[in-house]
Amino acid sequence: MALATDNSSLPPAVGAAEIAALVEPTRVHRRAYTDRAVFDLEMERIFGRAWIFVAHASQIPHPNDLIRTRLGLHDVLVTRDPEGPVHVVLNRCTHRGTTLCSVERANAASLVCPYHAWTFGLDGTLRSVPHRKSMPASFDMADPGLNLFRAPRVADYRGFIFASLAEDGPAVEDFLGDMTDVLDNFIDRAPNGEVTQEGGAFRLEYRGNWKLHHENANDTMHPGFVHESSVNAAREDGRDYAEPAYDEHQAHVQMLSNGFSVREWQSLGLQGLANGHSYMDGFYTQGILSPDRDDPISRSYRDALEAAHGRKAAAGILAMDRFNNLVWPNLNINAQYQQIRVVQPVAPDRTVVQAMCFRLGGAPEGMFHRAVRFLTNLSSPASMIFADDAEIFEKVQAGLSDGRREWLDQSRGIDETVGNGRIASAGTSELPIRGQYRAWLDHMTAAP
């Protein structure tokens, strides 16, 4: 498979006019996906400035907890400093550049470099170096340049931790806009108001651009073609409830749900928000994943939610059926099924998708098991659904390496309704893609 990355077609510094020329209302130039200079600018202007989701508070519940993740191309540690707020620091010693932490999570009062034991606080401050007396007088422990690089802004929206590498910019609530509704709903679904990341996580790598995952998330024309094989396997299998099935036929429902007719997809609403965010309305309409499911686990869960919030409020919480809530540029949320995906660019033609599920505090254990099943069925490297998406991303990327045809069409459903800062359209529109490119242009053509 061709993995050619075109690094030569643009000069190293890409000007705003050149960037602006890559996006038109109904089409986008292939270099947005293949060009190293464009990718580098994305890392600087988008992942280097916007609010990027880095962790959930439950991943670092105790003082001195830390996890290792990525912020753009940076290897970073998200630390819970007992003395202060959550910090996001570069996982790189300021002495010789050594990677400090090689595990995914730890509890440590300080960060000690394995090479010469330079020691840093969880806020990145240099605390000690060995054999101090051999350092010259000019070596100043208080020099901020000796501290670990630290993200200037970290914000916690109800446990969802975002970081920005820009000193200034909009508050995280302004950046999220109405996407706060789905984060609120995610938390409100827990009878005790606490959600915790549990059940493991997947990291799936595909050889394609990071934007392809987002563009696919709310593209409702693709499932009928891309997922035909899994839809078909579920349809042919019937629904034989007489047989024991420990996943309560959840795999069946998840695979079957991609089998909507175009008319059914069309009936789903698509919403595009400012800053590139988007979502689609209700998706799982029948069986164990439908909003009105009435099996013993769901009933017991609903009872717990009603006990906590009252019947009317509980019904309101469960009624929100927004699916694939894309918080551009790196987070995708499914509140109903306690799932998130985090998209991490690696190279123009390489992306890692991290997928995780959550436990709803105060809900029956069976609800958590369903979230775990959902994660396995939809986001595992062996998923019968996601495998075909990833394959398509790779086919797109391979095709785009050829420049004889330069443009990708994104005109489907262009007749959208604009109002209240939103763009709404029928379910088959490519409006989420156009909305993402509006935000992309805003970032990419902003002042240096």
Binding site: R203, Y206, E228
Partner: protein
Amino acid sequence: MTDAVDRKAVDRGAVEAFLYREARLLDDHRFEDWLALFADDGLYWIPAQPGQTDRFGAASIVHEDRTVLRMRVRRLSHPRAWSLTPQPRSSHLLGNIDVAPAAGGEIEAVASLQVAIYRDGDRTRYDGRQTVRLRPNGGDFEIALKRIDLIDCDGTLGVLPVPI
């Protein structure tokens, strides 16, 4: 724990022959026949964490009983399963096979597993330990559990397109 006497009581040759046949069915794309080796309550499990013991409270790369596995096998023959087109070819190698009696009259066979998968110009290697619980069934065996612990089960992985 088992002792040497217990191990001698197990027909090691028959167990090995079964394991080789099972691997061969996968390499030969005879997935329906492969599925038929599983007991009605049989389980195919590829954990996502080293030493994983919880099948329900922690996600797995694959965690399927026959009802789900049957759909997986059905999908394998669909002409437009894109991650299976062109059809992947696999080569299984089993080694260091250890056979011991287990509870309930079952037999546990633990082996080192190497699987190479080739598709569309790419070759991928999967390495790990395979643990199979076999149940005697009319002169043959049926699979009560096939568990594969990949050495990189919690690492960054590409698509695993076929059963291994």
